[in-house]
């Protein structure tokens, strides 16, 4: 498959070979040079960033990142391909360039005017934890950088945070752990919330507000003699600052409005944990209280068995796929109604895709499920992406990329998705920070001459 330079030429047929997937111009010339002069044996030299892709496209102010943990089947969702096993009730219909399983994703079907689907996407690894981390930090977690690499949302926070805002810039809904702020200050850490509709956790005092006020006044009285030393300079008041920020969140009517919602609202969103998170995300986007990046995690997509009787059961109105459709479809509709959709980028994806070919030519495996597969597809909405459009295409069963369909002319990778998100939010995705603890320089999007990672601006036509 690969020659001794690690180049896979197999995907090159039918094209001029120097434009083949996986081969950038630089590696091509290096290959040629090495054949002539042994260039490849020279020690690798730190190369200056050559960044193809240009200035940030700046289409959105905020982002909602729906992470479908477990890795949903791409050919049953965002790269729909009917197979012999596909239930008829999936009822695929065409919307512009998109073929869409309306039967299981009816609400999102109504929103496709504002949706673009990336189909030439390939995960680097088919291992859950590894790939999940990879997408969230936008780089290989097996490198020693992983320990200091911030989550994409933390980078967004670093760039776009309003220090006077009431709420943190990066909220992570329905998760309690995952990649964090890396080496960034903790102000950029994911702020974990699992919205239940009854307010933000620990922003009220379980023993009642009178008890809290009494206790807090006592604390202040006891601390009266404490001097706020300024001898040590401006970094002095970290703890006090956090306490102040925390206090501002407590018994705050604005915060309560975001995280408190009535039953009929919950019902509209499906009355599920995911639906509740979508309501909170909508309120956060609408409120303009400082939040710029909202992650919503929805698990349960690791459907190795019984995919059409479980998560994708078209007869079950509460199947996982319907919970997803209800929540996200209503969220997009509501943001459109309030005029917030055009400057909010919405992404939905898993850590990889699922298998399409099995023993005996079957569409499903022996347990009527699908296993891990690198090919996947990503859902983009809002931020004025070109509606009813697709980026790239896969072959007839969705096994691998047929046409990349974008300037990179190769599979879209985690690093490109990262660059796309930064670019859409107006962040200079070519930034290299000089403040990391390894003294090396932290690249927002990894520089790699073999791939020239870059944003997929084709989403905007």
């Amino acid at each position: 498959m690969k020659d001794r330079f690690g180049i896979d030429w197999s995907g090159a047929k039918g094209k001029r070979f120097w434009r083949a997937p996986h081969v950038s111009r630089r590696i091509f010339f290096r290959h040629i040079a090495s054949a002539v002069g042994g260039y490849f044996l020279l020690p690798p030299k730190t190369m200056e960033a050559s960044r193809i892709g240009g200035a940030p496209i700046n289409k959105a102010k905020k982002a909602i990142f729906v992470f479908m943990a477990g890795a949903p089947s791409h050919t049953d969702t965002f790269d729909f391909k009917a197979s012999a096993a596909t239930p008829a009730a999936f009822a695929p219909e065409s919307y512009g360039d998109i073929t869409w399983p309306r039967g299981i994703l009816p609400r999102l079907a109504e929103q496709l005017d504002n949706v673009s689907l990336m189909r030439s996407v390939r995960a680097w690894a088919a291992v859950h934890e590894l790939s999940r981390t990879w997408y969230q930090i936008g780089r290989n977690p097996t490198s020693s950088l992983s320990k200091i690499a911030p989550h994409i949302g933390s980078v967004v926070s670093m760039e776009l945070q309003d220090k006077n805002a009431l709420l943190p810039a990066f909220l992570s809904l329905n998760a309690t752990t995952g990649p964090g702020q890396g080496y960034f200050p903790s102000a950029h850490a994911p702020f974990y919330v699992s919205p239940g509709g009854n307010g933000l956790g620990n922003t009220t005092h379980g023993d009642g507000q009178p008890a809290f006020d009494r206790r807090y006044a006592l604390l202040r009285e006891l601390s009266q003699g404490d001097s706020i030393e300024t001898d040590f300079g401006a970094l002095a008041s970290e703890l006090a600052q956090y306490n102040l920020s925390a206090r501002r969140l407590m018994y705050n009517a604005d915060v309560d409005r975001i995280f408190t919602f009535p039953q009929d609202e919950r019902n509209r969103y499906g009355n599920t944990g995911f639906g509740n998170a979508c309501i909170a995300a909508r309120n956060l986007i609408r409120s303009d209280m400082g939040t710029r990046f909202v992650q919503i995690t929805i698990g349960g997509w690791d459907n190795h068995a019984g995919i059409y009787t479980g998560a994708f059961n078209p007869a079950n109105n509460n199947a996982l796929i319907r919970q997803f459709d209800n929540g996200l479809g209503t969220l997009i509709a509501d943001l459109k109604d309030s005029g917030h959709l055009d400057d909010t980028l919405i992404i939905a994806m898993g850590e990889f895709g699922r298998t399409v070919r099995h023993a005996g030519g079957a569409a499903l495996n022996a347990q009527a499920g699908r296993d891990h597969h690198l090919q996947q597809a990503i859902f983009f909405a809002g931020a004025k992406v070109k509606g009813r459009s697709v980026i790239g295409s896969t072959n007839s069963d969705g096994f691998s990329t047929d046409q990349p369909g974008w300037s990179g002319d190769r599979d879209i990778r985690a690093e490109d998705v990262e660059a796309t998100i930064y670019s859409a939010l107006g962040i200079d995705w070519t930034t290299i920070r000089r403040d990391d603890p390894l003294n090396r320089g932290f690249e927002y999007v990894p520089v790699d001459s073999r791939y020239d990672y870059r944003p997929v601006h084709e989403l905007w036509g």
Partner: protein, 624 residues
Amino acid sequence: MTGTRAVAALLNALAFAQEPIDTNCTFRAEPDRFLAAEARAQRQVQDRLTLFSQEGLSRFSQDGPSRIADARDIPQRNFIDQAIFGKLIQNNVRSASLTGDYEFVRRIHLDLTGRIPSKEAIESFVADTNPNKRDQLIDSLLYSPEFSRRWTMWLGDLMQNAAFNSFQSIQINGRNQFHAWMLKSLDDPNRSLKDMVWEALVAKGNNYDEAAAPVNWNLRSRTPGGPAQDSYDTAFNRAATQFLGIGHYDCILCHNGRGHLESLSLWGKDAPRTEAQGMAAFFARMRFTYTTNDQTNYYFNSWSIADAATGNYDLNTTFGNRPNRTAIGATRAIPPQYRLGQTPRTSDWRAEFATFMVEDPMFARNMANRIWKQLFNMALAEPVDQLDPARMDPKNPPTAGWSLQASHPELLERLAEHLGSVNFNLREFVRVLVSSSAYQLSSRYDDTWKIEYVPMFARHYPRRLEGEEIHDAIQMGTQVLANYTVQGWTETAKWAVHLPEPVEPRSNGGALNFMNSFYRGNRDTTDRQQLGSILQQLNIMNDNVVRSRIKVAASPTLRRVAGMADYGAAVDELFLMFLSRPATSAERASAIRFYETRGAANRNASTEDLAWALINRSEFILSY
């Protein structure tokens, strides 16, 4: 459902990426543009001091004597003091004075056992008139069961014991066995850290078996998405980083040091990739075998490690996590060679490596440096995982343009020697550290403090308690104990420090989130951090972990205090219980006035309010 999980688990265990993975080494050396790493560590300590100074231990100055001394007046109790105070005297820098009894008793309990002292422990220590009472307390804490518990947590961090990881999971059973092995080892007062590391490096067998528990160390190194050489590299690199403190092998396993490490490592800048690969080659005979995907079997998802009689580190890779390994002329495999020149004398390469490593002077330096950091809150050589072997030995100073890496190079050498002379016995080594006057300095410094003083250890540096320690400090004060179920354990965990890893207790999301907001790390992608956050503040003010424990109805200690008609006595007790010190006169007056204003009818509520307020003082979450 069970079938699904079994298949999923199998695939998790077996799945490799099916494509080449980019190395994504995005490090670029442009060091002129940053603060040096050592300076960064000093800055972090400085920031903590700053934070600490807010809480105003300076208020002690109203009551106590001045906390500043001429360094010549501090008694030098051992070789540590000769080095620390010698340097202060030489630089004409004043020293903080020795801790008072209250400051000392809190610090030594936290550092050795992870818990604040009980009111009774404080009172009896303070009342004791024996001039050797500090040494006696140190001795009793070193040999208390809680010492092994707290230091198993430390060792678990060092040996990265975590059930689920982004490389290779060892599962709950593996984690429990590894944890039990560490705890049992540390319970044994004669056990040597050197032997433990040696066993971890050479262990064979199934990772769920008690007899093979240390095999979990190497199992984690199995690396997805690449050829077997990637796993050899990871196994070596983890050992080098954690046990030798030399993290730069990670760079050199991809490429020569030249062009990358020029201003970071005197040793590393000229080290070729083949040197690192020669070290990794010792692992080239290690073999991983998956056991079973039968979910009903105890060994479900377990792995075994064994060693093949033959096998080499071949230069033949075309994909994976590191750049291709290609033949160099006629050389098609890298022979094992330890960094000090040794080559294996037997075919059991892994055992040979383990022996060379624990005898390597860097091993003793690294262990001494890391244990020092745990107790002094800043290492002699920072960062602890980026030691430079060419800048360690004061008898063999580095070339021009470079300086020795440690703030006190002779002291680090002496500590490494001492660690050897006590046969790597953790308790005896800790004893010499905490017995020193240097450790027993006050964290207060009643004179102008300068950042240049930081590397001189002119005062004790405070630290924020770990999430587990904060949880347990609340329990110590209130005596309301937890009852956390841990998967695979027959007994519940009553103290957070006893938990086997920082992502527990999974069985209690409330307690988990409370502690995680204090950045416990996950022993995989994230280290422990000393940062503050909004969530921490919300949690300590409002979370059930605090509120449920300060209820008079739940807490026997608070119930006793609430029953006291003498408000002054009640206040005195509360301050000892939570802050391990007496109230200042101003604090005492405020608290008594609070009791009086609220009246006898509210005595229970007032006691709860005071407990809450003391827990919310920022000094409560600090060891100072």
